[in-house]
């Protein structure tokens, strides 16, 4: 399956909807996501907390077109309920995926400097 990290159509749709608020939305997402990634790392051993954070993170990354990131969050949310075996690995994958898309959002954000 071809993995989409960032859906450009979603971004152009958001830009249309948000107009001048678009850069602020990108800032908010980056800032918010950073906090979520850190929170995930801190809660590695708390399945319940991981599930809740993953649920929220799934929603916002889905809204912002981070397709792969949203998929990983959903897997974490689902698996947090059952076995706890692979949760640490999933958190690492999310960490990694965010590190990947982050520069993409930042460069998108760059277009609107000033």
């Amino acid at each position: 399956m071809a993995e989409i990290h960032l859906d450009p159509d979603v971004l152009s749709g958001l830009q249309e909807v948000m107009e001048s608020e678009y850069p602020k939305l990108l800032d908010t997402f980056l800032d918010d996501s950073q906090k979520r990634v850190e929170a995930l790392r801190k809660s590695r051993d708390d399945a319940k907390a991981l599930g809740r954070i993953a649920h929220s993170f799934k929603g916002s990354s889905g809204n912002l077109g981070a397709v792969r990131l949203a998929q990983l969050c959903q897997r974490l949310e689902v698996e947090s309920v059952g076995s706890t075996a692979d949760l640490g690995a999933l958190v690492d994958q999310i960490d990694h995926e965010f590190a990947l898309v982050r520069p993409m959002y930042e460069s998108e954000r760059e277009r609107f400097q000033l």
């Binding site: 979603v10 958001l14 909807v17 948000m18 107009e19 608020e21 602020k24 939305l25 908010t28 997402f29 800032d31 918010d32 996501s33 809740r52 649920h55 929220s56 993170f57 799934k58 929603g59 916002s60 889905g62 809204n63 912002l64 077109g65």
Partner: protein, 572 residues
Amino acid sequence: MSNLAPVLEPLTILIAEDSAADLLLLSTIIRRQGHQVLTATHGAQAVEVFTRERPQLVLMDALMPVMDGFEAARRIKQLAGEALVPIIFLTSLRESEALAQCLDAGGDDFLPKPYNPLILAAKINAMDRLRRLQATVLQQRDLIAKHHNYLLHEQRAAKAVFDKVAHSGCINAAPNIRYLQSPYALFNGDLLLAAYTPSGDMHVLLGDFTGHGLPAAVGAMPLAEVFYGMTAKGYGLAQTLREMNAKLKRILPVDMFCCATLMCLSAERRVVEVWNGGMPEGYVHEVATGKRTPLVSRHLPLGVLSAERFNDSTEVWPMALGDRVFLLSDGVLDTADVNDQLFGAERLQQVFAANREPDRLFEDIEQALAAFRGQARDDVSMVEITLQAGEPLRAAEPMYADSGQSCPLDWSVGFEFRAQTLKSYNPLPYLLQLLLEIHGLRKQSGALYSVMAELYSNALEHGVLGLDSGLKLDARGFAEYYHQRNERLAQLSSGYVRVHVQVVPTPTGGKMTLRIDDSGPGFDVEQVLARPLDVNRLSGRGLSLVRQLSSDVRWLDGGRSVCVEFYWEALA
């Protein structure tokens, strides 16, 4: 009205969402759609903002810190009360259990992430339509409730006034009247009135107005006033009926009228005179034989016909003491069972036939109705009057405070009533009013009226009309007598009744001499007076009554003229 109506007015919408990016995105979309946005980042804050700002619609994330969306939704629905505050859950929850949880908490719809602005706008519009519908329903419900209460209040007030009017007669005081009216909160259209005439006869009216409540009560008031007023003044049924009909015709709308039975029971003359317009058949129950004579509706109800077309003709039936008259309203016959079958006259007849104790007739009928239907109607009226001797002769209205100092004491007056007048006019109430100007006579007004009425009807019926009272020996002859009376009266073209009143003072008070002459052939006074008094005879009661009530009676001119005297003491 189009289902795709655009947003009519901007709404205030609360968004509760803990993800900053989602919150920013959603608020911007909704603001762009023209609404005002309030935000909260957890459930407790959402409840607090709702309490303070009362937004019209809520977008609620399900999983939030502090208080989750489910609990917040429950509290907000509780705070909103009857008003519909739609809650749309922001969730991509895919499991049916979680969706059910949202609905249980009071959620009205879902919006999955990622957000689609078009779907969001459509959902907000749809929820707003529901919200408005609910608001309109509530508003109209409250309005209807308010009007309803207002109407009930008015009708209760009308009934209270009406009850005072309707119960000022002798309906509760007379020992020989039994009646049953179904208990009702409002005026049910049924009207029962009873009062004594000056000569001690009893007038009874059972009426049934079209409709219930205020419109019916409005018509009942003037009807009751006419009934009491004219009965007390000594007017007969015909005049009273004419006045009632004319009054109702004038004041009621075309489609309203009053079915009524009006009757006059005379223990003195042992008869009942009846007019029935539109009421179910009542009965005269001859106790000795068990025979029930139906009192058939012969006329249109009151308030339908113009004065010119109104028919005031009555029927007269003989009654022995102890005989009963039974009247009922259509609520009895029209009581319907579960299959819409009516109780009907035949079932009523069966109850009559099965009745062993006459005093328990009402209970028997009620039981039969209950067995037939299982529940009571609110417009069942029944009345039964037993003919009893010794009705008190009524004294006139309270005396004036001037103790008679200004009343006329030395005068005379004469009237001649000719054919056209005799046909339709009853001069007795007018004459009585004139005589009651003599305050000393007021105590005897009942006796005075009875004597006057007797002598006048003798002059008219035996004198002018030449009717033979011997006809009244049995029930059939009795009916024939009244039949002939009506016929001859209708054809009358000549003849007269003269009334002469002379009032003179005496050393101790005064004396009134009343002389009545008629144009008839006269009769053999000696022979008639020599007849033995027979209380069971239907005829001949009048003269013994006259002799009993007045100080002196004399016949002159071969029976064509009769003269009575009344004396009174000066008032202290």
